[in-house]
Symmetry: C2
Subunit: 247 residues, 2 copies
């Protein structure tokens, strides 16, 4: 069994539609490549009780939780407070985080004021996550990895600590290109998809004068997945349509 | 109080990162414009028990649930079955849905086979949602609106039935452009954001040689929101930075 994960996007600006989330898709791809199975992603509001209850629920149900958003020098510093509260620990001004921020702001004419110093407030017992972009660290508390919402910062944070995550078997993914609509091969896909350990996705495509379906087989066992792809191709041939395994 | 909503994206292909979700952002904007408050969005797997439990939980906690994905002629017809099961009703071959599909396929050389006929399977008592793109209807069961995952189809479906939703007060949204970093005005934003009925978001921006923060005030009371924006602008001026309300 591969380790499991959940993503928690914290942000009123996503729920209002003002900002479009890009972190779910980026993290989903990364996790899949590492053999970590993303079970669920949620987008929730910047509200303390809401954050606490979702963090608790997800932290108990998966191996890794990744949060995005709600940390930074703005007014809504409730994310850090809420995640600490979910695990019943206090928030303290972290000396190492302070050191990094002081250094970051030293040679600028930006005032390292109280609002910015609050970015050094970290739950007691948490591990800092490096922020190569803007210094203010994220943190890891139990199995919850708290990152900034800005995609470039989140990506640099994740890439910085991802080597400590226990990955699993990277799934084998084979695409069978079929020169027909998905409705003509639905039964075949259903049969192959009902085999243990094989999941089947179908992605119809259209271009001028042509259409087809990319059938994607995914499985943790490379040999089994390869055999299932061949079987699917043969069944599509038998049904009278062209099909080929994509190199 | 404005009506509330939740989005449930059903799709293994989103969780694997193969497909990037575009429906949450699009629906979020539409709902906000209609005065319907989006409380939460979730992305979940194509698994019957998972779908049933999330549909039940969200259907009880908000006024409107919108689902995306999991309907169509493919093997994974478990969405319809699961949503019916969540409300303890059976699935039947819907005569009106059949009529639409027969008509859609009549003048094509596509075989209207059993897999495609399954797209007419609809929970008993549900209302059909028109699909101007590819005929196969979505449906509304209780407060759950079940739509296709392909963005163009989802959008045409939503635009077709959205007039029947009870909207609320469309929030007033005012942007105050401030010529300074968000860390310099965090306290001011915090003060204004703690006023009842006013929420404050801040969006730092950078371009060569310049930076600033767009502060967005949102509230259901237009006059109150306008006054809060003026107050914020004056406080930013007082702190020594340029600020202006965006037209």
């Amino acid at each position: 069994m591969n380790p499991t994960a959940a993503i928690l996007v914290i942000g009123d600006e996503i729920l209002s539609g003002r900002t479009k989330d890009k972190n779910i898709g980026w993290l989903a791809e990364k996790l899949t490549d590492m053999g970590i199975q993303l079970i669920e992603a949620r987008v929730i509001a910047d509200v303390e009780d809401v954050i606490i209850s979702h963090v608790k629920a997800l932290s108990e149900s998966v191996d890794y939780v990744f949060t995005s958003g709600g940390i930074g020098p703005t007014h809504d510093d409730i994310t850090t407070k809420s995640i600490a509260a979910a695990f019943d620990v206090a928030v303290e001004r972290n000396p190492e985080a302070m050191r990094r921020l002081v250094e970051h702001y030293r040679d600028t004419d930006i005032d390292f004021n109280e609002a910015r110093q609050k970015m050094a407030d970290i739950p007691v017992g948490a591990t800092l996550i490096d922020n190569p972009v803007s210094a203010a660290p994220g943190f890891i508390l139990h199995n919850v990895h708290v990152m900034a919402g800005v995609p470039s910062i989140l990506q640099s944070m994740f890439d910085g600590f991802s080597h400590i995550l226990s990955g699993g078997v990277r799934p084998t993914r084979i695409t069978v290109q079929c020169a027909t609509g998905e409705g003509n091969i639905a039964t075949i896909m259903g049969d192959i998809g009902s085999e243990e350990g094989i999941s089947v996705g179908s992605y119809p495509w259209f271009k001028p004068g042509q259409f087809g379906t990319a059938v994607v087989l995914t499985g943790l066992d490379a040999q089994k997945t390869g055999e299932a792809a061949k079987r699917l191709m043969q069944l599509v041939h038998k049904a009278g349509f062209e099909a080929a395994i994509e190199a």
